[in-house]
């Protein structure tokens, strides 16, 4: 066998988390090598290192038997690697042909030979049997067409290694078929493909070998025809479950009546037939893999997206949520997963960040003048309650740790007296200590009667924190699990993974299907 790419001992440390820990494996020339793992297992970090966007702290990469230092994107391209990232790297205002050949525009002394450019691009498209007009603007293409352009761009560099990071995340079945065909073509040309995905079907359809990553460590490399889907899933998730989380058994809350009910919610291209109930005082988890469109469901409930059909019922009354303001009026609050861009007001104080949503509450007599005494009383009460550590109320929130910022944002939602709290990735980018504080805080909030809908990519959070969990697979509900289920529908790693990959549909007894 002929090793084209040898990864040895790659380690990458991010603040607070070891994304890759001494990962080594070989890739053979001409194979499709799948790299699988849960969200956060380190797949994407590894690909970014190979693509020259990150540099590894330790370890070396050997390409074609030669030790290679990849310091930047150009280095990576020069050593024959093309990476197709999840987020596209195309310039929207340029044409397809201009994008593919951006660094290699044909022509003499700065004048672009447009005819030759389009011819070259047509040739490429023809070769790949793609039906995309070279002079079409990229901004006018569909997502799948952009994906194809990305692949064509990778092919045009004559790269010997093409890395695809979840290429099917945004494609429908027909487009996936085109992708399969393209990968087949590439393979026949002798191109090596590193295929990152967590969709079982594709992995087994396409790959020759599979490398499993878990928590930044390599678990093993297996021949695809020697491993079953179930074995693979166990390898991806099998870890010591309760390492530092405390279980929720001791304070299992009695959940109350239904607060929010979603009936048959549909949005073309995103989700279909979504129905579930959210009870007072419970934490309901929304699980699923990246690209399963659970974020869109949450956004719909907060008026950031509008469903094609279906109803949302709050306390027995159907409501219409067109804008976030509608949602807030109905006492539904939302906490973003993009804290930096959509959450904090970075250059404002802790106090102002806390009270921004309830300024009318602290304006005396509604005359628009801020009553600072009331404000500081609020700030004192809530920062104490949430155990927020800060130097002074006017300290810029930017200078707080991620955990404390998140607590401020939670407190901001609380101040609005919400009944329903939608949380997106509440512990993303937060260190372990602050995480468990936030967990106990969320349980306290639930105990106070707030209904919490939580979207999280961390399986452990679903298991230890949530009373129930709904799993989404490609826009539909593929499972409903219960933390204290006596049957086979408990919230466990295996059950979650089976549902999230569309492998099995598991519903606890009494759950509406």
């Amino acid at each position: 066998m002929d090793t084209i790419l040898k990864i040895s001992g790659i380690t990458k440390q991010f603040p607070g988390v070891k994304a890759l820990d001494n990962v080594s494996f070989d890739v053979e020339r001409g194979e499709v090598h799948a790299v699988v793992g849960e969200n956060g297992a380190g797949k994407s970090t590894l690909m970014k290192i190979l693509g020259g966007l990150y540099s590894a702290d330790f370890g070396e990469i050997t390409i074609n038997g030669k030790k290679t230092a990849i310091r930047g994107v150009l280095d990576s391209l020069k050593s024959g690697i093309s990476v197709i990232y999840q987020e596209f790297n195309l310039v929207p205002m340029l044409t397809v042909a201009e994008n593919i050949f951006l660094t290699r525009l044909p022509g003499k002394s700065g004048v672009v030979n447009r005819k030759k450019l389009n011819e070259k691009c047509s040739e490429l498209m023809h070769e790949l049997r793609l039906d995309i007009n070279p002079s079409a603007m990229v901004s006018e293409l569909s997502v799948s067409e952009m994906q194809m352009v990305e692949i064509a761009k990778a092919v045009s560099f004559d790269s010997s290694i093409v890395i695809m990071d979840e290429p099917t995340a945004s494609l429908n079945d027909k487009e996936v078929a085109t992708l399969y065909r393209l990968i087949d073509d590439l393979k026949r040309r002798g191109t090596t493909i590193l295929y990152i995905s967590h969709r079982m079907k594709e992995i087994f359809d396409l790959s020759d070998r599979i490398t499993v990553l878990r928590d930044g460590c390599k678990i093993g490399t297996y021949n695809t025809n020697e491993i079953t889907e179930e074995e693979l899933i166990h390898k991806m998730v099998g870890r010591d479950i309760t390492k530092f989380y405390h279980s929720n058994d001791d304070e299992s809350s009695e959940t109350g009546e239904v607060v929010l009910e979603v009936k048959q919610l549909c949005k073309e291209g995103f989700y279909k037939d979504i129905s579930f109930q959210l009870h007072r005082g419970e934490i309901l988890g929304l699980g699923g893999l990246m690209g399963c469109h659970r974020e869109e469901i949450a956004k719909t409930l907060f008026g950031l997206m509008h469903p094609d059909s279906g109803t949302i019922v709050l306390n027995g009354k159907p409501i219409q949520i067109d804008t976030p303001a509608d949602a807030i009026r109905n006492r539904i609050m939302f906490s973003t997963d993009d804290r930096k861009n959509e959450g904090i007001l970075p250059d404002m104080g802790v106090d102002e960040n806390l009270t921004i949503a309830v300024l009318n509450k602290i304006c005396k007599g509604g005359n628009g003048l801020i009553h600072y005494k009331t404000e500081s009383a609020f700030v004192k009460e809530y920062t104490d309650y949430m155990q927020i550590k800060y130097a002074s109320p006017s300290q810029h929130i930017l200078h707080l740790s991620g955990g404390n910022q998140q607590k401020v944002l939670l407190a901001r939602s609380l101040l609005t007296d919400c009944e329903v709290l939608i949380l997106m990735e509440p512990t993303r980018g937060i260190d372990v200590g602050a995480k468990s504080e936030i967990y106990s805080m969320l349980r306290q909030l639930a105990a106070r009667g707030i209904a919490i809908l939580m979207i999280t990519s961390e399986t452990q959070e679903l298991i230890t924190l949530c009373d129930r969990a709904i799993v989404i697979y490609q826009g539909t509900i593929s499972g409903a699990l219960k933390s204290n289920d006596s049957g086979s529908a408990a919230i466990t790693e295996d059950n979650l993974m089976f549902c999230a990959t569309g492998n099995k549909h598991i519903f606890y007894e009494g759950a509406k299907q």
Binding site: V73, V91, M93, E98, L102, L105, G110, V112
Partner: protein, 317 residues
């Protein structure tokens, strides 16, 4: 929606034609006479020349607020060249162009190396360059009425067409060709559309930014030279609205403020439209300040039209 699509295609051209027809209807033969139309071209050529540079700057995702001051500075620099340094017409023109390149380098340096946001950086240099023109002229006007060869730049004609119109036409076509057919043109659009992707693709984004700023300064200097050769006086108070006029024509012409998409032909038509209106107000003996009201109105109208489709589409999500 259909109307909006049509607008996207012909917008500014249709609007210019419309204004042309209105002027014709109101003013009759006087307006469409060759003499008057040439007069309009003479009036807009300064703005058109400056705007060519601004199209590149805005398309690459930057902005240049300082060209008005560079335009003013030019009239002083030319005056010093002609009267104090005695380096003649060619020498003075070359000197002014060199000063333009320097101004562009200063703007580029502030934005590229000091990482100052383009708007604030060029707003500061707008004041600084203005200060420089007061400084080197000691706040006094410089007359150079007697320099016949310098005067020829604006008063001479070739084939019966005034030199400034020739210069405008050449620069306009050159700008269009560079924008449309060269590697630089593609890079400019790529930078404005998504700078980080462009950088990852291995394109020298910094150099593109520098070139854009040099481009806008040099074009402002050319405008300034023509204007100076018309007035034959160097004064620090000239050209107060030049920068704004140029940006106005560029935006009205369909160049996206956010970058990525420029339109040089559209810019010319926008300048023409504004020229027709000014001309009409003149001929109707109306006060010039009506022009500001109407220009502002047209600009708002064009921008709203440009945004309407996106707004309507966004509501559907």
């Amino acid at each position: 929606m259909k109307f909006l699509k049509l607008w996207e295609k012909i917008g500014i051209y249709g609007l210019t034609l419309f204004v042309f027809l209105v002027c014709w209807a109101l003013l009759g033969e006087n307006f469409v006479s060759a003499y008057n139309l040439m007069n309009v071209l003479m009036q807009i050529c300064l703005v058109v020349i400056g705007s060519v540079g601004i199209v590149f700057v805005i398309t690459s995702g930057l902005i240049d607020m300082s060209i008005g001051s560079i335009y003013t500075l030019t009239s002083i620099v030319v005056g010093i060249g002609l009267t104090k340094l005695n380096i003649g017409t060619v020498g003075s023109v070359v000197l002014a162009l060199l000063v333009g390149v320097c101004c562009g380098l200063v703007n580029g340096g502030l934005v590229v190396y000091m990482k100052i946001p383009p708007f604030v950086a060029t707003l500061s240099t707008m004041l600084a360059f203005k200060g420089v023109s007061y400084l080197i002229s000691s706040g006094k006007d410089i007359m150079y009425i007697s320099h016949e060869s310098f005067k020829m730049i604006s008063s001479g004609t070739i084939l019966g067409i005034p030199n400034p119109v020739w210069i405008m036409a050449i620069l306009l076509i050159a700008g269009y060709l560079v924008y449309k057919y060269t590697r630089f043109g593609v890079y400019v659009r790529a930078c404005g559309s998504n700078a980080s992707v462009t950088k990852i693709s291995g394109i020298p984004v910094k150099r593109v930014y520098f070139l854009c700023y040099i481009c806008s300064s040099v074009f402002a200097v050319i405008g300034g030279i023509i204007s100076a050769s018309r007035t034959l006086i160097g004064t620090s108070t000239a050209g107060a609205t030049y920068g704004i006029d140029c940006i106005c024509a560029v935006v009205l012409g369909g160049t996206l403020m956010a970058g990525g998409k420029g339109n040089i032909i559209g810019m010319f038509f926008a300048a023409l439209l504004l020229g027709f209106m000014k001309n009409m107000l003149n001929m109707l003996n109306l006060e010039f300040y009506y022009q500001y009201v109407i220009t502002g109105f047209i600009l708002v109208f064009a921008l709203v039209m440009g945004n309407l489709r996106e707004l309507l589409q966004a509501r559907k999500v």
